[in-house]
Symmetry: C2
Subunit: 252 residues, 2 copies
């Protein structure tokens, strides 16, 4: 039976340790969830697994939780970046929420030629990511990077990381076939273009790079956030942690 609340903390989690709640968390537990001291919550920090803790003190803007027992151990997660051109607020919120659920390890906004917006509210993206991770029982928060141009990303591309680009035009490999040729447990990244797609020059540059594979996502024209979700899901199914038995079995 899950606890009534699951919270991300920056603090260390260890047997008998005490976690300081943020002002937002104290407000949420006290005023939204009507918690009383003595009730239990679930905590995770991306490093020490998942813990059950007991609320020791709860004020308007502060509170403390005492760790009781570790309920899940930290596990390796797929090393899968999602690179995306910034979208409008609604689709961007959806994209971030779903990318967290679907297990992207890093979210990296990339400025392409046709990008609609260059204003990125990193604090908002981070808050969305934390909330999604709390909800979906993930053990980590993805890194949220500041936006960079496509050229910068490519010129500093790390050795050994493969880049799968979702391309609606030009030569490409069906996504299942493409990921089927990938490396399980490898370092990967998925790039989805802006509304309107990449310009030809961008595709030319991308397709000449030795670490790039263009994948196709079928005959319909997907919105950018749909393409991102679809590619992440297919990746997890073929190369990622959806190949494993469901969590209930792993945690036993």
């Amino acid at each position: 039976m899950p606890e009534r609340a699951r919270l991300f903390t920056q603090d260390d989690l260890s047997d008998g340790g005490v976690v300081e709640l943020t002002a937002n968390q104290a407000h949420y537990l006290r005023n939204v969830m009507r918690f009383q001291p003595g009730e239990t919550v679930t905590l995770f920090n991306g490093r020490d697994g998942e813990w059950r803790g007991r609320v020791a003190a709860l004020g308007k803007v502060r509170g403390q939780v005492e760790m009781e027992v570790r309920t899940r151990r930290q596990r390796d997660e797929p090393d899968l970046w999602l690179l995306f051109a910034p979208l409008k607020r609604g689709p961007m919120d959806i994209l971030v929420q779903k990318a967290v659920e679907l297990g992207a390890s890093r979210l990296l906004p990339v400025l392409t030629e046709r990008v609609n917006s260059t204003r990125i509210n990193t604090a908002r993206l981070t808050a969305n990511a934390v909330e999604a991770a709390e909800q979906c029982e993930r053990l980590t928060i993805p890194d949220i990077s500041t936006a960079v141009s496509l050229g910068e990303v490519l010129s500093g591309w790390p050795a050994g990381r493969h880049l799968w680009i979702c391309a609606e035009t030009g030569a490409s490999t069906p996504v299942g076939e493409a990921f089927g040729g990938g490396q399980i447990g490898g370092a990967d990244a998925i790039l989805v273009g802006p509304e309107g797609g990449f310009v030809n020059n961008e595709l030319d540059v991308l397709n000449k790079l030795p670490f790039v594979t263009a994948v196709s996502l079928g005959p319909r024209i997907l919105r950018a956030e749909t393409a991102a979700m679809a590619a992440l899901a297919c990746y997890q199914a073929v190369l990622g942690d959806w190949r494993l038995p469901p969590r209930a079995e792993l945690d036993q």
Copy 2:
């Protein structure tokens, strides 16, 4: 180069034929898109492929388009139903839009034990589906069924159609492995449960049925609409029309 507008019509589409615009379509072309008679639009009806037509007359609440040339032929699409428990308005809108993009052939709301809402606005679902199909260049609109109980759906289940259920608890097969054992070109359905999941009794009933396979979507707890999108994407990649070359090649 796509036309500026792409519209779904109930009318037949044939060489030299004339299509009557609906009041909404006339309003959209005239007042939103500022069309003038003589400009061209794209039309589809789910039967006769995709056509380019020329606006012959355009009033405030009516208009006519004359067919000029068929630009794409009708093609078979995967026979893939999506069964889902009704969600709140926001997630339901997302689910319908994405299910259309991802190629579900029929959307069937199913009332489960833990369902949040039994009020389903079929007109709203249909309008969302039409808009999504117009946008994603799909050649059909999925059927939108009226809601039925899970028991009714199962007791009237059609012979030869396989049902893949997205289950967070109980025994299940990783989604890639499960679909890998499916039949390409077969009749299929995906069922996602409500927020809160199926009750045990529902899972017991489902898992005893010979046409049911429970699939798992990894270690994180996905929202219902995320699970639906993820399962549809994986299906299309493994068994559906994402196995094919991208559309540009098919249309040549």
